[in-house]
């Protein structure tokens, strides 16, 4: 296809093309809506209102955004070292397990701030461990990381169910979930924080782990582009032979990147367990890991882009829920379709419009 090789201005590559892709994904979603007898315009309106139209909606949107920032960053960091981590799903799950185990063990004895700090560390540690093994297998045994991380997603599921059903379940409780955590293990909700300074904000699951997510995004930016470790990660990701030449050990750097990637995904556990659910339960992680791939791709693996893409996905999730709530013939799976379309057009077909745009530029300059 002509034009795919042409160099285009940065604003086209990171601005115009992704925008066109999102628009295409949404247009095709509109067709799907139309297919199931839903007026796409009406749907769009409800979706937008649900996502940004009122405080609770915004709260939910940002709450989802928090998770997507974590998993999006996770995918991006691995991507920079040249690995495809599609195990964010499992790492988030196990990260939450870390939080849960720690809090269940210590919430009676350790004061709040320390407990929260420890449980954040536990999330990172558990998530990192779950990414480390596939990372190690890739770096030292050459097993395909895409396959192993998928397998580890399944394994995380089995492990969690085993623990929840047989070990951690609250006695007498029907649902496979642990006892509620003591309030010392709760992260402050945003609406409570606002209330404390006298602003009324509707209740939503949004809690201060959003700040952790933004901090992570900033940290990831510094780490990847401003530190020697990030430099090494990018070197390994771009050219392994050059990395060896530069005295970098690719296997170690890969492990480092995978561990960080897993830790970031593990933070989903902080948002979910410390922030929202306040107990350990099944499937709190569901879907965030896979969506993280799309978030990272759309964000061009750059933290700023990831935060924006995470916001888009957060809005899609919350707006989609609103849509399903308001329109009786819209079911919740439509959101999955939209998500698939966004991944398809923003990820796999990211160059769809490049030849076209490249041609337009040629005409202009010629």
């Amino acid at each position: 296809m002509k034009g795919l090789d042409r160099n285009l201005p940065t604003w086209v590559n990171v601005g115009l093309l992704p925008l066109l892709n999102v628009v295409t994904a949404l247009l095709i979603s509109a067709v799907v809506f139309w297919l199931i007898d839903v007026n796409p315009l009406e749907a769009a309106e409800i979706l937008l209102y649900g996502a940004f139209g009122y405080q609770e909606g915004i709260g939910f949107t940002l709450y989802y955004t928090t998770n997507f920032i974590f998993t999006g960053l996770a995918v991006a960091i691995a991507f920079h070292v040249g690995l495809f981590n599609i195990g964010g799903e499992g790492q988030a799950y196990i990260g939450g397990l870390g939080v849960g185990l720690l809090c269940l063990a210590l919430d009676a004895s350790v004061p709040g701030p320390v407990l929260l700090l420890l449980s954040t560390l536990a999330a990172a540690l558990f998530g990192a461990a779950w990414a480390f093994i596939p990372g190690w297998l890739q770096a030292y045994r050459g097993s395909h990381i895409v396959i192993t991380t998928i397998m580890f997603n399944f394994l995380a599921s089995s492990l969690m169910v085993y623990l929840m059903v047989n070990v951690l379940r609250e006695p007498g409780q029907m649902a496979p979930q642990s006892r509620a955590l003591a309030e010392t293990a709760w992260l402050p909700f945003m609406h409570d924080l606002f209330a404390a300074i006298g602003i009324e904000f509707e209740r939503s699951p949004l809690n201060i782990s959003l700040f952790l997510a933004l901090l992570c995004a900033f940290g990831a930016w510094v780490f990847i582009w401003k530190t020697k470790w990030g430099y090494e990660i990018r070197t390994v990701g771009s050219n392994q032979q050059a990395a060896v030449y530069a005295g970098i050990k690719p296997a170690r750097v890969m492990l480092l990147a995978m561990a960080i990637s897993g830790a970031l995904a593990g933070f989903v556990g902080v948002n979910e367990i410390n922030g929202v659910q306040h107990r350990l339960l099944l499937d709190f992680h569901y879907g965030y890991g896979f969506a993280g791939i799309a978030v990272a791709l759309m964000g061009r693996n750059h933290p700023i882009g990831i935060v924006l893409a995470a916001l888009l996905f957060g809005a899609l999730y919350q707006g989609g829920a609103e849509l399903a709530f308001e329109m009786s013939n819209v079911n919740r799976d439509i959101v999955v379709v939209m998500q698939g379309l966004v991944i398809l057009f923003c990820g796999a077909l990211e160059f769809l419009y490049k030849p076209l745009i490249a041609n337009m530029f040629k005409e202009k300059t010629a």
Partner: protein, 307 residues
């Protein structure tokens, strides 16, 4: 303004969510009143849905499934004027009506019937996801079979350990075939959508299967021995009706055989499979359970199936 919040399996789970859905449909048909439905996809949306409904003045709000207990307990506390009905779990708030079912009693009945029908003395149970609720079904079934035939052998299998186990008829069919191969000739499936695999397998080899939750006898007349019905639809329906008539009351309702909350299904589709003698015997057992002569152990009471 009646409403319902399904659990994460969705309203078409071929199981109790779907039963509630049927109750809602019937209610709509009978009264012409819309029932607002919410299908959450994750934990956060459960509470979001309940709260949104409560805020908009829906009442009573039926919350389906034990996993909504936490959400119901916190939302009901915040909206004391709204009536909540929780199915499959108990929440002790003044504006909550809790409905639980004695699935073990119904399972006991079909277990006994299975043992009567079995020529080999071997019967099977196939559960969906390995969670306490499903074990409760299995435990009741086993007791019933053993009650009828102390030498009966009961095979117990679970399809899987995640929610996906309720959507895996292929695996269910394999498990069923494996049990049939080992000599079982009646299998009770408590596995949501996966159950269809078991029923199909039974039909393919000409052996018997027992349906669950709703009356599934019609699926394969001739090989569906019976169904253990759990009257969630009735419970939900009568709940909305009660509210409509101003008779809604909080409290705990435990529906067993006595209350017609669980039962076994006998209709034209399985009439030919159940002899008069068997029918009488099952009904006798039913009466004995109701009268307390037969004690059915509830798995949930001590998390084990020792009886």
């Amino acid at each position: 303004k009646p409403a319902v919040v399904y659990d994460k399996a969705g309203k078409f789970d071929k199981s109790f969510n779907e039963a509630v859905f049927r109750g809602a449909e019937k209610f709509k048909k009978d009264t012409g009143v819309e029932v607002k439905e919410v299908e959450p996809t994750n934990e956060a949306q459960v509470e979001q849905g309940l709260e949104k409904l409560a805020r908009r003045g829906s009442s009573p709000i039926v919350a389906v499934g034990f996993s909504q207990a936490n959400a119901v307990s916190s939302v009901s506390a915040k909206y004391p004027d709204v009536q909540f009905t929780l199915i499959d779990m108990v929440v002790d708030n003044p504006n909550v009506h809790s409905i639980v079912f004695k699935e073990h009693e119904g399972s006991f009945l079909v277990g006994a019937l299975a043992a009567m029908k079995s020529a080999t003395g071997k019967v099977g149970f196939i559960g969906g996801m390995d969670i306490p609720l499903i074990r409760k079904f299995g435990c009741g079934f086993e007791q019933g079979a053993k009650y009828e035939n102390p030498k009966a052998e009961v095979f117990t299998n679970m399809i899987g350990s995640t929610g996906a186990a309720f959507n895996n008829p292929g695996k269910a069919a394999e498990l069923a075939k494996s049990q049939f191969d080992s000599g079982a000739d009646v299998i009770f499936a408590a596995a949501g959508s996966s159950g269809s695999g078991v029923y199909q397998a039974a039909k393919d080899v000409g052996k018997y299967a027992i349906g669950v939750d709703s009356n599934q006898n019609h699926l394969h007349p001739g090989t569906m021995l019976t169904s253990m019905v759990k009257r969630v639809d009735v419970a939900a329906y009568s709940n909305w009706m009660a509210a409509k008539d101003g008779k809604w009351e909080p409290g705990v309702e435990a529906l067993g055989l006595a209350e017609n909350g669980v039962d076994w299904a006998l209709d034209e589709h399985n009439r030919s499979l159940v002899t008069k003698e068997m029918e009488e015997k099952v009904n006798q057992i039913k009466a004995d359970i109701i009268s307390g002569k037969i004690k059915v152990h509830d798995y949930m009471s001590d998390n084990s199936c020792k009886y």
